[in-house]
């Protein structure tokens, strides 16, 4: 298999580069490889779109969880308050 053919077929490598690209700048060689692959592979283009969307969603999910407004148990808070007061009064 020729070099170009290898790049065109290797979705495994292409998806690896798609993930890496979302966090760091790829090397020139990697950028060219990915461009060649994506130009001929609609499945990986779809993967890329979905992967970015998932990243966005993950961020949203975690933010939402942080803002859920859970409250610590009042008894537990009293225990902590007592511990803090005791240590400060030592």
């Amino acid at each position: 298999m020729g070099v170009i053919k290898k790049i065109q077929y290797n979705c495994r490598h292409a998806t690896y580069l798609i993930e890496k690209r979302q966090h760091v700048r790829l090397t020139l060689r990697e950028r060219i490889e990915l461009a060649i692959h994506l130009s001929g592979c609609s499945v990986c283009r779809l993967f890329q779109k979905q992967s970015r969307m998932i990243n966005k969603m993950i961020k949203g999910v975690f933010r939402a969880k942080e803002e859920e407004g859970r409250r610590l148990d009042e008894d537990f808070k009293r225990t902590m308050q007592r511990q803090i007061d005791e240590r400060l009064n030592k």
């Binding site: 495994r12 993950i58 511990q83």
Partner: protein, 195 residues
């Protein structure tokens, strides 16, 4: 005159306990662990009151202490997995071994399927879709502890990659392999649940 911030430990519980609890819970997904870490954070902070420089807010300072404790939990959760060899290549499941092409059954498909095209169209808002969000949450929970830690740190804290590597004692090539695997699994899990 620059106003220096003074610590008031007696009001920590009423001022910050719920905030710290939510912060920890969002990252650990475990009520008891989150609760214990809040307590440990206060006690650790009391031990080092003299190290507070007054340059950040009280809450920022306490959160920084909590963050280290969360990373410790990640480390402990992962310690059982450290022996997992990264070269076992579980992503082979998704691709043909000889040429790296997608296997038919795992090949990404548009996730529109008659509904709003939630994962196929750029300008739709996938967060608005409660069902998709809950599928994502379920799929996240299926990830191995190490992958979950890496993902959480990367996406929540927007932590620099080299800092994550250092904290979790990973090499950078392992890091990309983990990110790749986690995403392949996550996406496949969502597709399976959605279609």
């Amino acid at each position: 005159m620059v106003e220096t911030i003074v610590l008031e430990p007696r009001s920590w519980v009423s001022a910050h306990a719920d905030y710290l609890y939510n912060y920890a819970f969002a990252r650990l997904d475990h009520e008891e662990q989150a609760r214990d870490l809040v307590q440990e954070t206060f006690l650790a902070a009391l031990e080092r009151l003299d190290q507070f420089k007054g340059r950040s807010s009280e809450r920022t300072w306490l959160t920084a202490i909590l963050k280290f404790k969360i990373i410790d939990v990640y480390r402990k959760r992962n310690s059982g997995l450290q022996t997992e060899r990264v070269d076992r290549e579980p992503e082979q499941e998704f691709f043909e071994a000889d040429n790296g092409h997608w296997k038919e059954e795992y090949s990404p498909r548009p996730l529109g399927a008659g509904r709003e095209d939630a994962l196929g169209v750029e300008d739709s808002d996938p967060l608005a879709d409660k069902e998709l969000t809950s599928i994502l949450q379920r799929c996240l929970q299926k990830l191995p502890a190490l992958w979950y830690s890496v993902f959480t740190m990367k996406h929540m804290e927007e932590e620099a990659t080299d800092k994550i590597l250092q904290e979790l004692k990973l090499t950078s090539s392992n890091f990309w392999v983990i990110i790749h695997r986690a995403k392949l699994n996550l996406r496949a899990c969502i597709q399976k649940a959605w279609l």
